[in-house]
Symmetry: C2
Subunit: 184 residues, 2 copies
DNA sequence: CACCTTTTTGCAACTAGTTGCATAAGGGTG
DNA sequence: CACCCTTATGCAACTAGTTGCAAAAAGGTG
């Protein structure tokens, strides 16, 4: 139940059409809440039906024609409500950990190679985030809004750093063994 | 596409009925791959139909009657294949980060309280994991299987530590401000 | 202007996970 | 043995996200 609120946030930052929204998403919000244009169009329709946003009157609603949306007061209130409401953190669900656990039973053949690949992917993502940090958060400017957005980015940076370190450490310790299976 | 493989792993560790499986899941695998008994029964049916597991002949298949499963060779091979096959890490998707980003637009009222609650939840989960570590991985025993399972647990411990620290740090820096809304 | 490509919007079907409930058997209690 | 509670299995409907594709308009090219 979070995508609609992600869209409200983005539209409050700047009214946009579906496609503009998709592109802006890809450059920021999608880093911690990925979504596709199909999903976004669907949600825009629902949000409009619920009276949270409305199409800017400028363009008429036809296929292949840009249609921009802006947030209505009810939408802003809903976003504020949702932001402040308690929500339980969703539990961890990570396939790599599952594979390591499986490897304890069926052997580690092949797994280490993919761990090395993941390590590189995380380091790559880390570099992307650090580039964004350098560009968007130079030392100096420090509005409350900047600080909040910077904290979110820091979480991304620190998480990628975490996984890179964990994978590097795990790779050092990974034993290469065959399963004690029925074939022995 | 990972639950069936989680089940195969658990069944290889020990053949079980649906309910036993559910309980054993809750004590270990569910920490990084949560699931419900409904899901597990459904997957057991599919795995049996695919020839990866079979019901132990001891008990007849009737409702309200225990039915235990064991893994067939084809199931072990499928698990080994899946474990070794490359798989992309799934991107981050975290509602708390989204809420912080939203708070930059609609204000931080109420959010800090829930961040404090999350901080406590993460600390609680950390304590649970540390208890498990003390119980299941005393210094000394060090088979390859133990080391892999211990690494998985360490990831859980380190992740909870990470979030607790991040939340504590964010709380120190969170500005308390009202939105620059249409009411001003 | 006829044709093709790109942009923008969107539908439909599928997948994985969640929630709510049902039904059958076993086991104890009056 | 009639009743009820617990254990074990499972179906059905719903939710959120993914994948594949298509159709309308805009804009360029011969």
């Amino acid at each position: 139940m979070s995508l609609p609120h992600a869209i409200l946030t983005a539209l409050l930052e700047k009214p946009s059409s579906g496609l503009e929204l998709t592109r802006r998403f890809d450059k920021s919000i999608a880093y911690f809440w990925p979504s596709t244009h199909q999903q976004i169009y669907r949600e825009l329709g629902k949000l409009e039906a619920e009276g949270f946003i409305r199409a800017l009157p400028s363009a008429q609603p036809a296929r292949g024609q840009k249609k921009s949306y802006e947030v209505l007061p009810a939408g802003r209130e809903e976003l504020a409500r949702w932001t402040a409401a308690p929500q339980d953190p969703k539990p961890l669900r990570d396939a790599m950990l599952l594979r390591m656990r499986a490897a304890a039973v069926v052997g580690t053949a092949g797994l280490a190679a993919d761990m090395r690949r993941h390590l590189e992917l995380h380091e790559g993502q880390l570099a992307v985030y650090q580039e964004i940090e350098k560009r968007d958060f130079p030392p100096g400017r420090d509005t409350p809004q900047d600080r909040l957005r910077h904290m979110v980015l820091r979480a991304g940076i620190d998480l990628e750093t975490f996984w890179a370190q964990w994978l590097a450490e795990a790779l050092k310790n990974i034993p290469d063994f065959e399963p004690d299976g029925p074939e022995s």
